[in-house]
Amino acid sequence: MISSPLSHSAVVGGYQPPTGAFDEVKTGAAEVRPVCQALMSAVDRLGAAGLNDRREHAHQLLREHGVTYNVYADGHSAERPWNLDMLPLLIDADEWARLEAGLIQRTRLLNLVLADIYGPQRLLQEGLLPPALLHANPGFLRPCHGVRPPGDQHLTLHAVDITRAPDGQWWVLVDRTQAPSGVGYTVENRVVLSRVLSEEFRSHQVQRLAGFFLRRKEGLRALAPWTDSPNIVLLTPGPLNETYFEHAYLARYLGYALVEGNDLTVRDRRVYLKTIEGLQPVDVIIRRVDDTFCDPLELRSDSFLGVPGLVEAARAGNVAISNALGSGAVEAPALLAFLPALAKHLLGEDLLIPNVATWWCGQQREREHTLGRLDRLVVKRAFVGNEIVPQFTETMDEGARREIAAQVRANPHAFVGQERVPLSTAPVWTGDRLEPRPMLLRCYICATPNGYTVMPGGLTRVSASAGSPIVTSRFGGGSKDTWVLSSGPVEEVSLLDKGGRPTRVERNVSQTPSRVVENFFWLGRYAERLEDSTRLLRTVLSRLAGETGPVEAAERAAMIRTMIGREKLPEDFDENAHFDELADELRALLFDEERIGSVHELLRRVAYLTASVRDRLSGDTWRILNHLQTEFPEPIANISIHSMLGILHRLIMQLAAFSGMGMENTTRGHAWRFLDIGRRLERADNLMSTLQIVLETDAKNPAALVPLLEYSDSTMTYRRRYLATPELPQVLEVLLGDASNPRALAFQIDALRRHFVELPEHQREHPEAVKFAEQHAIFSGASFHALGLAASKGQAQPLKHLLERLLEGCRETSDLLTAHYFSHVLARPN
């Protein structure tokens, strides 16, 4: 059969796989392989326009889900959107069954090797591993020798990168045993592609991924045989890690707490999670921190990512770690040379999926072999993964090859020679045609109570360009969903039950690390501070736009004085400054991210805090906070007043949406409570600071009151009550004493009072409770109308004094509160 029957479109017909490599879709004779025929017919039916439409939809979903990969360049990290191709890789059921058997064999083998090198080391005595392979291997962690993980399960999640040789035979290129990445991206690829190609997905009987995760969860539970309901956490290096998106995503998908090293502590050789309710024991840690960084006491002492005492806790058998500390030792490329013999010896079997032929230069004969064949081999680091670019000595000139040879001779243990395997190719949709790209399939194997199981699918990655032999997300390649076809009906499982609830209630879901709660507190504060800055700026800007008269001029001058007092404008700023000078200052207040308190600076802080609590935010809340960033424009040098106002209006709408989400779409847990406490404290602080300044500079100036009401969004409240020109006593009543006005001090104090009694382990004699009660008493005893009357007659001192006491008290309460609930955690912002 030549191509497909529906080849009227040039899409599939125009695809030309290169010669000399196996193509996943077409044979050498340019025929579509049977497994791909249905999909290729669909591709032709969609045509270029249909594919581009699907691609646009997929990009939009990925953007909305916030799927990113952090890329480091020049010491800066940048979030890069995840790149997903429209065509999945297809593998039929029989072929997959053969792969599965080979992958499981490999995981069993590597687990046995780990159990040996961290135990009796018989493989050295029996001559199956040269001693130097262990001695020179930086992944072999001596402090972990003799630490037996529960059930001797060192390797509970294993990733294997495979590709196909020109004859169609699958080969293993790389093992990942440290902390395999990509599982979350694999799920996300599936979620997105199964939506944009929903008909094709349904008609193909694709095996589902969810069952793998259910079994992974069973496997993790079984790692802690000492308890029926183990507390399981996912340990991440933090938001700056290149795959942080995935850590947050997986934590939520699996229903485990996402924690950083600082959230955990070892007491009495047990691991605990620090929560604002106290220390909660932790039984199993899914580790996304490399093992050498996991314990500054026994491993790398310069690490800030780990938990001091973790090795000792594991040694005592009080915690299980997936993967066990030290399992990075077997992802060394040097080990590949020995696996065929190890499989025979330990399993009595041949490797079902062969390795790429590898020669470890730590052995003399192998070294000479490698150096003699530099024109045909690839030279790689023996013990580091593919962080260091492989050297394709085949294509080098003599001088460069001599240089490599000298490096190998100087430090032979550090290198391997590897046969160059041409990667198989798969078509990638570029927007106007299908282009062949070298590809790698990353498969995942996990431990379960009934042995190992393979994820039916995986992360297919393609190189960035047709000519590049390097396939890695670091260098900007793309990815594909992987469809493993089923021979029978598809297993329908989900991590959610029919009502949308998790099928099993995880004990740890409600356990929030104190750090997370602290970040919510600061998110509340900074979001409110951002709104405050935005409102101040908007109030003054609106008195600059269009034709303005003497009233606006007087109000503008009062606002400028307020902004100087609030330290938004420089102390020596002239309130009668020329229009252009003022406009420049206001532009800087909007755009200058280096300027403390500018809108852009606060937005950045909100972004940082948002990222750090991302796994705790609902999808909608996250989208709103994400839009806040993505829709904020790049600085525009001569932006008009009108456009600035547009930006500020939109910001206020988005912040209102965020507050609304907080009220309507968030469970009243501790995170929400501290977010709201932060917001209330900040609002009270901003309001009182602003009032203090107005009383100082404009106590008797009626022109200051209109913008003040506008800034505090209380104009309507005032009109409803008084139907008159603002006067100070009434304004104070509205802004301070009116408990029904959500912007008033009374409202903040009421809200705080309700929050305080709900705090974990709340005690009346706790210092922050004592302080707050004192404030409450001072506040309740005050008559703002009377104080305002006096102030408008020039007797502002008693009112100022009261505000000062309340403001001081508000700040002290905040400090006492944070000291009580978060002090054992390193401070984050500020």
């Binding site: 050295l124 005595q125 001559g127 040269p130 001693p131 130097a132 001695h135 020179a136 930086p138 001596r142 402090p143 020798h145 003799g146 502590t265 070892v266 007491r267 009495d268 050789r269 500054p296 006491l297 026994e298 002492s301 001091p308 005492g309 000792e312 040694r315 005592a316 052995q363 003399q364 100087a410 430090n411 243990h413 054992h824």
Partner: protein, 295 residues
């Protein structure tokens, strides 16, 4: 020789430490010429965990956890150790150093290749050609290993100045080679780097040295220090020790505590504290000869 040894380490912290974890390598290990007759720990404040074990290199190690808030931590270990004098081989009778190198480089496990454990990079000791270059004049072709080692030790002793202000525990050994000054730990690391860079297994020995007061002066209490030296693997003879700080082969005045690849494996008291701010460290060591050998 019989010694009573007191080793007191005290940390004072600027602010409260809420809790801390430590690993102590303070109990001297047993060797063919060293027996530990008594050993005891005193820790203040009271630790919540004191867990003894044997580490990867066979040294006694202790995991300590102090979980009550404290401003000061004092760890005092006392021991009585009997040391008999070693018999180092006749230098000329030891094998050519290249033979030892080849014996250690085999692909199969032998008593020699097993010592490859001490042949590669370790946290404080990289292998580079600079160290190989420094070692080269001592390790001339076919020279008996111990002769070459004595020569290297002597050169380190004469080329380098003992200067406690020149380095800290964090000074890289490459810097020591460049600046030509340091303390016993630096010289031990330097010797190890030289030996490993030419393919010989070398390990770090942490211990005590009995000091003698100047003639006519009384022995000062607490004046002793912890000491470090080096050992090289010599096929057919086992480990041979050398003390580059004093240009000699250790005798019965050197008391061994522990050995490892470098200082990081056997630091007497390694710890991670939570809180604390600035800290001050004071170490006082007494090595007192006990005349009554019935001890």
């Amino acid at each position: 020789m019989l010694y009573d040894i007191t080793h007191r380490t005290s940390y004072s912290y600027e602010s409260n430490v809420s809790f801390s974890h430590h690993i102590a390598h303070l109990r001297p290990r047993e060797t063919y010429r060293q027996q530990v007759r008594k050993f005891g720990f005193e820790i203040s404040p009271q630790p919540t965990a004191v867990v003894p074990r044997t580490d990867y290199y066979g040294n006694p190690a202790t995991f300590l956890a102090v979980e009550s808030p404290h401003h000061e931590l004092v760890v005092t270990s006392t021991c009585r150790v009997a040391v008999s004098p070693p018999e180092w081989p006749d230098p000329a009778a030891t094998p050519a150093w290249e033979e030892v190198r080849e014996a250690c480089a085999t692909d199969v496990l032998t008593p020699d290749s097993e010592m490859g454990e001490f042949l590669f990079n370790s946290p404080h000791v990289p292998r580079t050609h600079q160290f190989a270059q420094y070692a080269a004049p001592s390790f001339s072709s076919r020279r008996p290993l111990l002769e070459a080692l004595l020569d290297l030790t002597h050169r380190i002793f004469t080329d380098f100045a003992f200067d406690p202000r020149a380095t800290t525990v964090a000074t890289p050994v490459a810097e020591v080679l460049e600046n030509r000054r340091g303390v016993c730990q630096d010289f031990a690391h330097l010797a190890i780097a030289c030996l490993r860079s030419i393919g010989l297994p070398a390990r770090y020995v942490s211990g005590y040295l009995e000091t003698t007061p100047p003639p006519g002066k009384p022995r000062l209490v607490g004046a002793d220090v912890s000491h470090a030296w080096v050992a090289v693997w010599c096929a057919g003879f086992g480990w041979i020790e050398a003390d580059p700080t004093n240009d000699l082969l250790p005798g019965d005045r050197h008391v061994t505590i522990a050995w490892g690849r470098d200082f990081s494996d056997v630091s007497p008291l390694r710890g991670v504290v939570v809180g604390g701010g600035e800290q001050e460290l004071e170490v006082a060591i007494d090595v007192v000869r006990v005349e009554d050998a019935s001890g």
